[in-house]
Symmetry: C2
Subunit: 358 residues, 2 copies
């Protein structure tokens, strides 16, 4: 376990097993604990550490302990039609309802060609790509989006009124890796700022503003301030549309109306809404033909003439597939400060973190 980027490389299976038991210890059912652990470890494997245990495990634990999240699932379907459903998550773990919602969307899309399923009164569901990618083995295109606690101001505004409101699209290919786009509507995700704050690293210019709306490189000031949206008013518009679809349409919170207005609140429900969609490729084109066309599109893009200093053109998701292969082989790098955090958590729950700190 060599040190890497100031951390230790730990096998994914070691982390997965411990994470699953942490959730079980907090009252989450066996199957659900395995699902939540898989969604978080998968994010770490893909290099999306902002959505892996690295960043969010502590918050998940505190919110389960504080009563903000219901460890046992009790969701109900509020409305349903041939191609849609609205699920009341009833404050379940975000991953548990997301999994159910995406499976329902896929099942409906098998029948009607396309389906949209939304969850209301839900929690953080991890990385959006995890849910969109569930469509891939079904020969479908997957989509997911969620709203989130306000950290972004409308164009021209000074107050955080919108979340980073990420969305993901996953499109299957043939011999090539699928196209997996997963992006926050801000230049960087809030988790990136949190990670920089934890590691005491300055931000890059253009990422965030402080509480007075001034550009800042200080992660602590940015956490009290605003994230910058992509393309100015365009990113603001996308974020607002996601909030209206995920929050307003589902009956969940939107804008500034979240019961737990701050991320460190461990008692009040998050009350986010999320969307899940599946498009059955075969409703438009035979899957093998589509896969061949996707392979061609991907290869043509990658063969693009490169700008000076550029050695490769990447397809969205490609870096994550390569990172996953590498981390499956070498282990997931966990920063030292996070290892210490996990060791403390392990002592608290009588589930020793299975890596000795040397």
């Amino acid at each position: 376990m060599a040190g890497v980027d100031g951390g230790i490389l730990i096998p994914a299976e070691t982390l997965r097993g411990w994470t699953r038991r942490v959730f079980e210890r907090l009252g989450v059912g066996e199957e659900d604990a395995a699902l939540v652990a898989d969604s978080l470890i998968e994010a770490n494997l893909r290099g999306v550490d902002t959505h892996g245990i690295t960043r969010v495990l502590g918050a998940y634990v505190r919110r389960l302990q504080g009563g903000a999240v219901n460890p046992r699932t009790a969701f109900t379907i509020l409305r349903e039609s041939a191609s849609t459903a609205l699920i009341d998550a009833r404050n379940s773990l975000g991953q548990v309802t997301a999994n159910h919602a995406m499976r329902l969307a896929i099942s409906k899309a098998h029948t009607t060609g396309v389906a949209f399923v939304a969850t209301a009164h839900a929690n953080h569901y991890g990385a959006a790509a995890y849910w969109a990618m569930m469509a891939l083995p079904e020969g479908m295109i997957g989509f997911s989006a969620t709203n989130a606690l306000p950290t972004v101001a409308p164009a021209g505004g000074l107050t955080p009124m919108l979340g980073t409101n990420p969305f993901a699209v996953a499109i299957p290919a043939g011999h090539e890796q699928p196209m997996v786009l997963d992006l926050a509507t801000t230049v960087v995700a809030r988790g990136r700022i949190v990670l920089h704050a934890k590691q005491n690293k300055p931000l890059q210019p253009g990422w965030a503003y402080d509480a007075a709306g001034r550009p800042t490189l200080d992660p602590q000031a940015a956490l009290q301030g605003l994230l910058a949206p992509i393309g100015g008013y365009k990113g603001y518009g996308i974020s607002l549309a996601v909030d209206m679809l995920c929050g307003v349409l589902t009956g969940s919170s939107f804008g500034t109306r979240f019961p737990s207005a701050r991320g460190d609140n461990v008692r009040d429900p998050r009350d986010v809404g999320s969307l899940f969609a599946a498009i059955n490729v075969a409703s438009f084109m035979d899957l093998p033909e589509f896969q061949a066309r996707m392979d061609a599109a991907i290869r043509e893009i990658k063969a693009c003439e490169k700008a000076e200093g550029v050695t490769r053109i990447y397809i969205p998701g490609e870096i994550e597939f390569e990172t996953k292969a590498k981390r499956l082989a070498e282990g997931i790098p966990i920063p030292e400060v996070v290892v210490e955090e996990f060791q403390a958590l392990g002592r608290e729950l009588a589930l020793p973190f299975p890596v000795a700190w040397t």
Copy 2:
């Protein structure tokens, strides 16, 4: 008709009538000519002059005259399921198939809650918002996207391989105006560059690159070069996803594979693909409740504390609604150079442009 921005104010109805007759003179049926004229004049009314007659009428005329576009509709449905359809536009005018596709999506969404309809082998359909907004009076959320001729390089690349690939989302409100987001995945649309080139106005920094990939303020150099995507690799990813959904999935052209690789080609079909979706609000929430929640969301955003020098917070589409009211009252400003172009076109078609140049 006072001069404005170097142009003349002309009543919308005058422009609409003349535009309709131009299309009829070129062999387009009466109903279709009225639809195309309405889509272009509506863009001008909303202040989106890049998608109005100001910019595109000449190109539409030349492509009909050159045989690149079929003036008579002959589209067929290739595949259909309860919530999807794929329409072969057979090179009809983009607006004619877009109108049919969006109506079909709305009709299906009434039954199944949501629908996705795609068109293949189609042409430029004007502003994406026009089609998304058709959902609004039906109590639905509308969506549309299209691919386009390559003008954008992948992140790290030097060659245009993707279009601006715009998309639009329209969400109904109650007393407030609907939220209408319509954006190209580039910092500006190609039409904005064309308009600057026509008016010999320099570009703003960050809009475009020349053919060598260097930033440029010269609109002519930019037309030979590259548009800059929003948020760097994020805008590239969105543009690629739109191309895969609109081009690859529909069997239309994608990437660099367009038969008319340049916008000034008037003989070869454009062969773009487009997407149209409708989500029935009532499948998730009673419409009056949704409208009230949308009104609240919009009012709360607009009440946001403002940055220094900002007098108003705008909702996407709000400026366009106000511009439309103003232009309906005062007329649509047409730059002098475009008036001259229309006068020449009027002489050519023996349909005098109904505004004397004084």
